[in-house]
Amino acid sequence: MNRHGPIIPPEAAPLKTLTVAMAIMCFLACLAIGALILINRAVDAWTGGLQSEVTVQIRQLSDARIEDEIAKAETLLKQTPGVVSTTVLDREAAAKLLEPWLGPIKELDELPIPRLIRVTINPAAPPSFDALNVALSKQVRGASLDTHQRWQTELTRMAGVLKYLSYAVLALIAISAIAIVIFATRTVLDANRDVVDVLHLVGARDGFIARQVQGRFLKTGLMAGCAGLLAGLMTFLLLGFSGSGPGSGGIAEASRSLLFAPVGISWRSYATLLAVPIVATLISVLTAKFTLMRMLHGEW
């Protein structure tokens, strides 16, 4: 005698559609997670750079020689504890920074372009910015200190918004997946109403009936999760090797960094992405079980 056949007929359950829908959800989840990882990394890189650097700006005043003021500022900075090094940007470099706003500047000598000193500081023991600002104002004419505090705040705020947006997208994907599984579970149960009735009448407990269906949702969640993950990785790979010219917006580099970062950094990306099929399977199984038990419990 052969082994028992499945109690709930497999062909009566429309789980192929669920598998496709869940795979798409998992693919979208992979993209959202990838975006989240890249945002986090970019914010770390930006804020790390900004925290270890400040800029001294010296405006051209009519009755002062700017080169003398730059020399005074440099001397003061080098004497300040917490300052690691200073780099004076020449007029051409300063003009280059203005190019995105003003275009190529031909009459460079006629414009009172402010001069910049890039100051590298020790982030572990930074100088007192207030005291440094006061000293610069007193000793150097036209000088001001920019600690990038405003930029840092803006960047952190923007990154925070993007991060929460990604989390919201992930939450919406999870809610949609749960709704799809609930719908599929109801359909399976409705399609097998006669079987369930007979099972109840021969003394089957709700848990027994739920177990007969649950196994299929486990398989569906796992398959869909793996398919979505694979599609997500393939997408990052394709983006990574697509054109990386000025029009790409850095997407190619970002995708490559996501996949091929050093192991110390990339293991977290892979671990987070690998969570997608696991979470998809859990959502599928637990939602199906909860829905089945609720539906079966509503019957006498």
Binding site: I7, L201, G203, A204
Partner: protein, 219 residues
């Protein structure tokens, strides 16, 4: 074992299909239920195998008042009752063997422990050749025998059967009656709804007559 007192049943807002039905079955009883089509025989059986709740009256089943039974009590009670449905209710995607073994599988028994019993019962009802066949290819009589085998495989305390010999020839009908009587001798209370007067005559067991939802006589 079974006690009904002034039981009434209506479907939705419709008229009462059962009215003031009262009778009792003691452990080891064998009773027939007859009556014209539409008299309410199937509805009465459905009440007795806990597929329906009465709209009024009292039903006590296997020592439990049906009104106080909780959902979690149902599987345990149903496992003590064997039911032969008029429309068989076999699962088309399971083999005859699997259909007959279903109550044992549902009760969590291991196949090693019941395989021989199922095969012996299939042989008894003349279906050993059809063990691996699926219900859609079985004849009406074969389906009926498979349904009977499924109902009796657990040797239930109470056996309820709705027209169990409606699709079989007289010889097989007698054979199935012998199976029911054998079970009855072993302690199962048997309650059979039937039109088959020959079967009733052969068994010589008490009969309840149902007419328009009401028990009119007990013979």
């Amino acid at each position: 074992m079974v006690r009904l007192e002034n039981v009434g049943l209506r479907y939705g807002q419709g008229p009462e299909v059962l009215r003031d039905v009262s009778f009792a079955l003691r452990r080891g009883d064998f009773r027939f239920l007859t009556g014209p089509s539409g008299a309410g025989k199937t509805s009465l059986l459905r009440l007795m195998f806990l597929a329906l709740k009465p709209t009024r009256g009292l039903i006590s089943l296997l020592g439990k008042d049906v009104a106080t039974i909780t959902r979690s009590d149902l599987p345990g009670l149903r496992r003590r009752i064997g039911v032969v449905f008029q429309e068989f209710r076999l699962l088309d995607h399971l083999t005859t063997y699997d259909n007959v073994a279903l109550p044992l599988r549902v009760a969590g028994q291991r196949e090693d422990n019941y395989r021989a019993d199922v095969m012996e019962l299939l042989s008894w009802v003349g279906l050993s050749e059809q063990a691996t066949a699926y219900p859609p290819v079985l004849s009406g009589g074969e389906k009926q025998r498979a349904a009977i085998a499924r109902a009796v495989i657990t040797k239930p305390e109470l056996l309820l059967a709705d027209e169990p010999t409606g699709n079989v020839d007289p010889a097989l009908g007698r054979r199935l009656l012998r199976l029911f009587m054998e079970l009855n001798r072993m302690g199962t209370t048997v309650f059979i709804a039937t039109h088959d007067t020959q079967l009733i005559d052969q068994a010589r067991m008490p009969v309840l007559h149902l007419e328009r939802g009401h028990i009119v006589e007990a013979a």
